[in-house]
């Protein structure tokens, strides 16, 4: 028995991911994890102690306070494990990529996917450590009576979903060139990543407690959302692995142009449709049922992944790490997107599905639920990412042709995001802080722009209305620029692709001839 156990352990020791072991060892030797862990424990002790003191003074079971305490602890968990810890992983991974440690690792038996997986496992492992410590707080809150087991597990469930996704997204961002180069941008990203999910989390849980709707149906929907998050995590993981396999080069080469032509085609189809549908959605005024949207969210995430299956077999450059096969079939070609534009094109594809769905719902069913807004938020993210990348490619290529490869697409996305956020914020301020026409607080709406402007079509001042239109206009201008850019690239790439096919055909013919002669 002991021999077979030993054999099993030895096998596990052999097969366990080397990067996972390495990162975990680094984490344990790093003081940051210890400090974060101790701080989190201290926060729980202080929070529970403080509330216990208040409760003993009032001598009553304050259910609202209990819920608030639970929310505070979970928000801290999200900030530490969903923002700070993955951000640290991002920094570490970025520095490893910069000092070429990663390429030495890739020379070994580890491939890009194993490397990303190892990093993810170590992040999840530390998250698990933090999650395991909330049990005493959970018990305390449950005993006070503010939350029931169903609610507690539901909140933990959605928190885990976020904590699984966040590190994958961060590691994917790390593979993008120059993402950490600008410290201000990095700081903004960190703050956004800390605040954004916390707001959403608080909004969701507060709404749930207020409406008391934790039931089987909600579990089903949250499972669907969890599934969506898993799909997103898988998507991000695939992109990160592909980025790692591909050398970090942005120069145009024949192969790149070839694939650019292929990627430009869906862009050409998508952009006019998107703008028309989005605008229709904005002017239609009210919303629809959220169940249908949630299902569509999962479907569109599925589309991402179907595309990724094909994408994993191709690249903009033929790196030494793997072989490339460009399909001759037009349908498969559509799904082969190059590097940065791969992400953009997929975002656009998902965005298209979202926008179409929302527009249909807007036209068919008048509804204004919180879940609808949450889905709008996702749409907004994809919208901004897609438009930002298009704007970046166009502006960088046209105005800074020589510095093109040095301008980070990530910086452009963030600048673009900030620009739209500022305009949206001004619109909201001018339209009047004290006159909300929807449930969410204004700071959440800022995060939801520009798609949330759908909700603001009524009850805003003239100037606010114009600013909101300006917001839409920015997206519109980016789309038009992108359209022209895509058209030029499409033409250029088609030409190169034709040549490529001719060369391939000639080579094939000459090979056949040689074979026949032999």
């Amino acid at each position: 028995m002991s021999a077979s156990l030993q054999k099993t352990f030895r096998y596990l020791d052999w097969k366990i991911n080397a990067v996972f072991i390495k990162d975990l060892r680094i984490k344990l030797q790093n003081k940051t994890l210890t400090i974060a862990f101790m701080s989190f424990l201290a926060l729980q002790v202080i929070t529970v102690g403080m509330f216990a003191a208040i409760l003993s003074r009032t001598n009553s079971k304050d259910t609202e306070m209990s819920m608030f305490m639970w929310q505070a602890v979970m928000c801290a968990l999200i900030i530490i494990c969903g923002a700070l810890s993955p951000f640290q992983a991002l920094g570490q991974f970025k520095s490893e990529l910069k000092n070429n440690s990663t390429e030495l690792v890739l020379l070994s038996n580890l491939n890009a996917k194993k490397l990303i997986r190892g990093k993810l496992f170590s992040c999840w492992c530390s998250s698990l450590l933090f999650i395991s410590t909330v049990a005493p707080t959970l018990t305390f809150c449950y005993l006070i009576g503010g939350i029931d087991i169903n609610f507690a597990f539901f909140t933990i469930f959605i928190t885990i979903g976020y904590l699984i996704t966040a590190p994958v997204v961060e590691l994917t961002l790390a593979t993008f060139k120059g993402f950490m180069s600008n410290s201000i941008v990095s700081l903004l990203v960190l703050v956004a990543k800390a605040i954004f999910p916390t707001i959403i989390y608080t909004a969701i849980t507060s709404e749930l407690v207020r409406s008391n709707i934790i039931n089987d149906e909600l579990w089903l929907i949250s499972t669907l959302v969890m599934l969506g998050l898993m799909v997103l995590a898988f998507f991000a993981y695939q992109v990160a692995a592909n980025r790692l396999r591909s050398p970090f080069e942005d120069t145009d080469t024949p192969q790149r142009c070839t694939l650019l032509a292929i990627s430009s085609l869906p862009l050409l189809i998508y952009l006019p449709l998107h703008f028309i549908l989005d605008y229709m959605g904005r002017i239609s005024g009210s919303a629809s049922t959220w169940e249908f949207l949630a299902i569509m969210a999962v479907i569109s995430s599925g589309i991402f992944n179907i595309g990724l299956i094909f994408i994993s077999n191709t690249s903009d450059r033929i790196p030494p790490q793997r072989k490339v096969k460009i399909s001759r079939h037009g349908l498969w070609q559509l799904l082969m997107f190059p590097s940065v534009k791969r992400l953009m094109a997929l975002s656009l594809l998902a965005n298209f599905v979202f926008t179409t769905t929302i527009t249909i719902c807007l036209l068919l069913y008048p509804h204004n639920s919180l879940f609808y807004k949450i889905i709008c938020l996702n749409l907004s993210f994809f919208n901004l990412t897609g438009c930002g990348l298009v704007a970046h490619e166009t502006l960088a290529k046209w105005f800074f042709p020589k510095k093109h490869s040095k301008i980070s697409p990530a910086t452009t996305i963030i600048v673009y995001n900030l620009l739209t956020e500022i305009v949206a914020m001004c619109a909201i301020i001018i339209s009047g802080w004290h006159k909300p026409n929807f449930d969410l607080p204004y700071w959440t709406i800022i995060a939801l722009s520009p798609v949330t402007s759908v909700f603001q079509s009524a009850g805003v001042s003239d100037l606010g209305h114009w600013l909101l239109l300006a917001n839409i206009l920015i997206a519109g201008v980016a789309c038009i620029f992108g359209l022209i850019f895509a058209y030029i690239k499409w033409q250029e790439g088609r030409e190169i692709f034709r040549e490529y096919n001719e060369i391939n055909f000639t080579q094939k013919q000459s090979k056949e001839l040689t074979d026949a002669e032999n």
């Binding site: 030895r10 020791d13 052999w14 366990i16 080397a18 990067v19 072991i21 390495k22 060892r25 680094i26 030797q29 790093n30 570490q92 520095s95 490893e96 000092n99 070429n100 440690s101 390429e103 030495l104 690792v105 020379l107 070994s108 038996n109 580890l110 050398p247 120069t251 450059r317 033929i318 790196p319 030494p320 790490q321 072989k323």
Partner: protein, 320 residues
């Protein structure tokens, strides 16, 4: 793969935007050989080495290791390849033992062999005293040793070392050279780059001289000398020299048939000759017989330095 591993670099080309970093580079080396890759900074050494190590893709050309292409079948050649970059900028908060353990795991060494392999390498590279130290706290010399230890973890047949002794103190440099010689004697094919010619002349069996991405000369040192047709230079220094004595020495040297290009020095003369060390010894014995009071008799400059100057001279003149 056979016991004798052969690495062939064939018509390698690589451009970065408008810079043609490597142009039609051809050379080869095999097991038991230390092949020097000489060139100034920016000559294309690192790019070529990265291509050989499957880290970079060439625009055209190929690298064959025992007739297996590094370009089309990189996964097949990686197990026999070890690449050591010019500087080890490793992970923070990581100990030397963890670092080596990580790479041993990354190469999927079985657990029962892992520790013994690490122990052997640590013994070989003399890293025992640094075994439990953090990697980022090591000196440059120790980092280079650790880097060499990492390269050796999977026992590769071909070692590609990019300036392994750059920035090291003389003792550390000698130690690295000693280790490389042992590895070459253990049937490893070693490619080592440097722009410090004396360093390579001490350990290389053959060299490739690269200038502005183009190979200027390639082969073993003797063949390069023949190609240059220049001979080896020797300096002779006399006891209590004066103009009459040095003049006499010069006249006498000119009469020896093997000697060419005699030039005057403050305390003696220098000359070049064709032939091996026996000829040099005969010349010395001849001078002693003629009662010249010699205080110093030595080779002036390495033949590799002469070769490098000679092969890159034409290019510089063309540029001027």
């Amino acid at each position: 793969m056979s016991d004798k591993t052969r690495v062939e670099v064939v018509n390698l080309n690589k451009s970065f935007e408008d810079v043609h970093a490597v142009r039609d580079v051809n050379f080869s080396f095999e097991s038991g050989e230390i092949h020097g890759f000489i060139g100034k900074n920016g000559a294309g050494k690192t790019t070529s080495m990265r291509i050989i190590s499957t880290l970079e893709h060439p625009d055209s050309g190929d690298v064959l290791i025992d007739n297996i292409s590094c370009i089309s079948e990189p996964l097949k050649v990686r197990p026999v390849l070890g690449f050591m970059p010019d500087y080890l900028d490793s992970y923070k908060n990581m100990m030397v033992d963890d670092y080596l353990d990580f790479y041993a795991r990354a190469y999927e060494l079985p657990p029962e062999k892992r520790q013994s392999r690490i122990d052997d390498i640590v013994e070989f590279t003399g890293m025992k005293e640094m075994y439990y130290r953090p990697v980022h706290g090591l000196s440059k010399g120790w980092k280079q040793r650790l880097s060499l230890a990492r390269v050796l973890i999977n026992d590769p047949k071909v070692l590609i070392l990019d300036e392994p002794a750059a920035g090291l103190d003389p003792q550390a440099r000698i130690e690295i050279h000693r280790l490389l010689r042992i590895l070459a004697d253990n049937n490893k094919a070693i490619l080592i780059s440097s722009h410090i010619l004396h360093e390579l002349s001490e350990i290389c069996d053959s060299v490739t001289i690269i200038e502005r991405g183009q190979v200027k000369a390639s082969g073993n040192l003797a063949s390069l000398q023949e190609e240059m047709d220049q001979g080896r230079r020797v300096e002779v220094h006399l006891d209590r020299p004066n103009s009459e004595l040095t003049k006499k020495l010069q006249i006498h040297l000119c009469q020896i048939p093997e000697i060419k290009n005699v030039t005057e020095l403050n305390s003696g003369a220098s000359f070049t000759y064709h032939g091996d060390d026996t000829i040099r010894a005969k010349i010395l014995s001849n001078l002693i017989k003629e009662d010249f009071m010699i205080t110093d008799y030595h080779s002036a400059g390495s033949s590799l330095v002469d070769a490098f100057i000679n092969f890159t001279k034409d290019n510089e003149e063309t540029n001027k």
